[in-house]
């Protein structure tokens, strides 16, 4: 298997994109987006940034697909953890735990 060597333009443009997105994620807080869309926007931008890092800095794009599967598994199981736990914490009869 030949090793992938990233070209300079790729690396630089990915970094550039990341910087732009960082600016964007701060910038959207200046305009007031209502709950819960502000969170959604922030997370979407973060996901895009993370994907860019994973694909081009971490070479997943060129790598064996198995490694991508491995990485996605971690996200999948984290999601399972969050969603099922929320099934409890959001639906408790007594409401919020009191302090």
């Amino acid at each position: 298997m030949s090793h992938h060597i990233s070209t300079l333009p790729t690396l630089l443009s990915v970094a550039g994109a990341l910087l732009v997105l960082t600016f964007l994620t701060v910038a959207v807080t200046w305009i007031n987006i209502p709950e819960p869309f502000n969170v959604i926007v922030a997370i979407t931008i973060a996901v895009v940034k993370a994907t860019a890092v994973a694909m081009f800095f971490m070479n997943l794009y060129w790598d064996s697909k198995f490694n991508s599967v491995v990485f996605l598994l971690s996200i999948l199981f984290l999601t399972i953890f969050v969603v099922i736990t929320l099934l409890d914490t959001l639906f408790r009869e007594g409401g919020l735990p009191v302090y």
Binding site: G94, P97, V98, Y99
Partner: protein, 314 residues
Amino acid sequence: MNRIIEYMLPPQRSTTASDVDSLFTFINVSGFILFMGIMITILIFVIKYRRKSEDDVTPVITHNSILEVAWTVIPIILILIVFSWGFRGYLTLTSPPANAYEIHVSAASWLWQFQYEGGGSTMNEVYVPVDRPVKFIMSSEDVIHSLAIPDFRIKMDVLPNRYTTTWFQATETGESILYCTEYCGTGHSEMLATVHVLSAEDFEEWLETGLEVDEDMPLADVGEQTFTSAGCNACHSLDGTDRVGPSLLNLFGSDRELVDGSVVVADEDYIRRSLIDPQAEVTAGYPANMPSYSGRLNERQIDGLIAFIKELQD
């Protein structure tokens, strides 16, 4: 089979118990049949196909679709039955009727306190009417406890930061045992209480009179009674042996060394303070985990305890 299962389970003393028990029986019986089926098949195979010679040749059988579908589908059907049955029972167990008689339960390491609608309270004993739904509204003062009454087939954790509830409707008068089933430390296995199921009239009568104290009883006797009813015996012995807390024998009048090094004399006032605000003066060598009895004991009971402890000299 029924006899065995009856032997296995405690008596059914609540309206919900019989449904739980039927499901218990159903799983036991169907599980037993399934289990015996598997074991007998194995036994037959072991006998029939035991090795006859070193060069036995065995056939290649890698799958059999009918069988495989069968042993996938039949268990799925069984579990769906079991799930929905258990689910139905659980719905009943978690939906107290609106007209239930409410008792507030407060758990602390390691005692149970029950407060009735009228305002009175009991410790480690709870009196409930028969044939009438009773709802426990529970909270804990420290760690998690769990209230379980096997005769009623109920159990619910008691949490320190919010209220949890459970309910039952007793079907016969008598006494049942109440356990703490969430591990809560040293006295966990002694955190028991008795459930007294009374007939409707007896219960009304008890509410009238039972919560009151006998005015004529000598103070020291009141103290002796309180000592067990308030659960002091979980932590204090009367014969000089150490439990969680120091023994109360010869306590009165002695010098007590506290964790901060100071020494106080165990007089009436000191004992009162030990009950109302135990954490303020902690005796050296013991954990600071005695619960506060402020609001749990009335004046007469406290006086009684003091009188009782005073007499404990040998």
